[in-house]
Amino acid sequence: MARIDLNHIRHAYGPNPKSDKDYALKEVHHSWEDGGAYALLGPSGCGKTTLLNIISGLIHPSHGQLLFNGEDVTNLSTQERNIAQVFQFPVIYDTMTVYDNLAFPLRNRGVPEAEIDRKVRETLEMIDLASWAKKKARGLTADQKQKISLGRGLVRSDVNAILFDEPLTVIDPHMKWVLRSQLKQLHQRFGYTMVYVTHDQTEALTFAQKVVVMYDGEIVQIGTPEELFERPKHTFVGYFIGSPGMNVMPVKLAGGMAQIGSHQIQLPSPAMPVAAGKIELGIRPEYVRLGRLGIPVKIAKVEDIGRHKIVRTRLENQEIAVIVGEGQDIPAEPHVAFDPKGINIYADSWRVEGQ
């Protein structure tokens, strides 16, 4: 397993990139810890797959260096980097048995057959496919095939990192849970360095210790799920993470208070640094209370999604989503109150630090 250093990496698909716009991936400069579980999260076209392909060696970056454990691997081929990868659609060798699929990478590397047998059996146990060893791989279900793809990586003791490219796309919801928790356990038990690309926030947040949120070729924030939820650095992170996303509304700041239309909201810290530009207040639906106190609102829609309700309220022209618990009632004259610890202030979409 390896620490991964991304040294000023940039990438453009076209030749002679001039402005920032020509880069599919703008400057990325980070260090990822050995044994860490990272998720690259963002909408399609944000550059997350480009970054993954740079790590796996399928793309040579236009600028910058990639280091594994301090060693420059930028010019090494995919084979030489010793990584494992699980793709969106299961890649298996149809004509082989499950056992032979797992043995394949070891046989290619000339590992002695006794050693292969030991490693393959061990891996089959790990991915819960021991009883399928003798079966032809093509008859298996999508989730089993995906486990074989993973197993071909796990079977090698020398892999630097395991990369995942939206691996659960073709898996049914119930199996997603099972696969995800198995993945989590494998990580907790064996400490692989894992990088997981997805557009699905639940997958990213539940899988990773650190989530890398990307937007328009840039990393907007790297943080623990908790940080991304509580303190989104950019309104995009607020919107992209959480279901529904963060409520963002234009406000005026004055004397420790935020003014929304004709209403005043108390800010958590009165000593808010004054920032120029477009000022917005962000608060997640989880931190908005619906009750008899606060600012009066109109209710536009109530979506009962079982474990809680999403109430869409209107405050003048501003829509504010509120999450209300399963057994909780919606008052006849609804008011919203903002929990101070959930309030974030943004200037030109970036969070004002030192709040």
Binding site: Q79, D94, T95, M96, F104, N108
Partner: protein, 288 residues
């Protein structure tokens, strides 16, 4: 995909059925009719029963021609299929090279059979043909008009030149349908070039390969025009394939009865072999 219920479809295929009836079924029946009768012209026919069939099946001339056909089909399959795969594997997958290669590959397929024959007939001539002249200059005594080996060599090279493209195009279609992820995974697994071919490309090409083999087999088994134009079946009978022999019997000797019986046997052999291929292919599909 399943069909919806109604019988309208029959009206749609009726014109085709009529056409097939006139173009295939009626002539075929005529042939059957001839094959069981004897005639001396003048529209006088005598019942011959299975006599012609027995005669043909016991005729050494027929055995020899059938043998030549099988050897020919075997040789060209053994060369064209591997060669086609190798070429398809080496064709570019993207960029400007793709259309160029595809057009180059399609060119031989667009040339009419008799023209192909004529081209090679001239190409191989020792006096004016590029190939024949060059070989002669190199001191090789090449003469397809007199030497049976040279005649075979010419006919086989001609068929390979003409038809390998078909195998290439089919294999190429199979290859481009393999997602990139498979190649990437193979790289990551450290697979050799051979392993990629054996475990990814070949299994994915299996179906198109079966179609290619079937088409090339049927076609080569029915070969007529090219050897007819180049060698006329000679020297001697060395390149007289079943079809050429059939024409010799029917038109040259005007033995309608034996010719009819022969064409029916010929037809049945092709039908049988096609059925065998079809069964193999459908079994393969069922297994998937």
């Amino acid at each position: 995909m399943e069909k919806t219920w109604n019988n309208k479809a029959w009206f749609m295929v009726l014109p085709v059925l009529l056409l097939v009836a006139f173009s295939a079924v009626i002539p075929l029946m005529t042939v059957v009719n001839y094959s069981v009768q004897d005639t001396f012209g003048n529209n006088q026919f005598f019942w011959a029963g299975t006599e012609w069939f027995e005669e043909i099946l016991h005729s050494e001339r027929f055995h020899a021609a059938l043998g030549r056909n099988l050897v020919f089909s075997f040789i060209i399959l053994a060369i064209e299929v591997p060669l086609g795969i190798v070429i398809a594997l080496n064709m570019p997958r993207k960029g400007w090279g793709v259309p160029v290669c595809l057009v180059l590959m399609a060119l031989p397929l667009l040339i009419p059979w008799n023209v192909v024959g004529t081209i090679w007939q001239v190409f191989g001539r020792v006096d004016i043909g590029l190939l024949g002249y060059t070989l002669a200059k190199l001191g090789i005594n090449y003469n397809y008009v007199q030497n049976p080996m040279h005649a075979w060599f010419t006919v086989i090279i001609m068929d390979i030149w003409h038809w390998t493209s078909l195998v290439v195009l089919l294999c190429y279609a199979g290859l481009v349908s393999i997602p990139d992820a498979f190649y990437q995974a193979a790289k990551i697994d450290g697979a050799s070039r051979w392993a990629v071919f054996r475990y990814i490309q070949l299994p994915k090409m299996n179906r198109v390969l079966l179609i290619a083999v079937l088409l090339r087999f049927m076609d080569s088994f029915m070969i007529y025009t090219e050897p007819f134009v180049v060698t006329g079946g000679g020297p001697g009978n060395s390149t007289t394939f079943l079809s050429i022999d059939l024409v010799k019997v029917a038109v040259g000797q005007f033995d309608l009865g034996p010719a009819a019986a022969m064409s029916i046997i010929y037809f049945l052999i092709i039908l049988l072999l096609s059925w065998v291929f079809y069964t193999i292919m459908t079994n393969y599909d069922a297994e998937r």
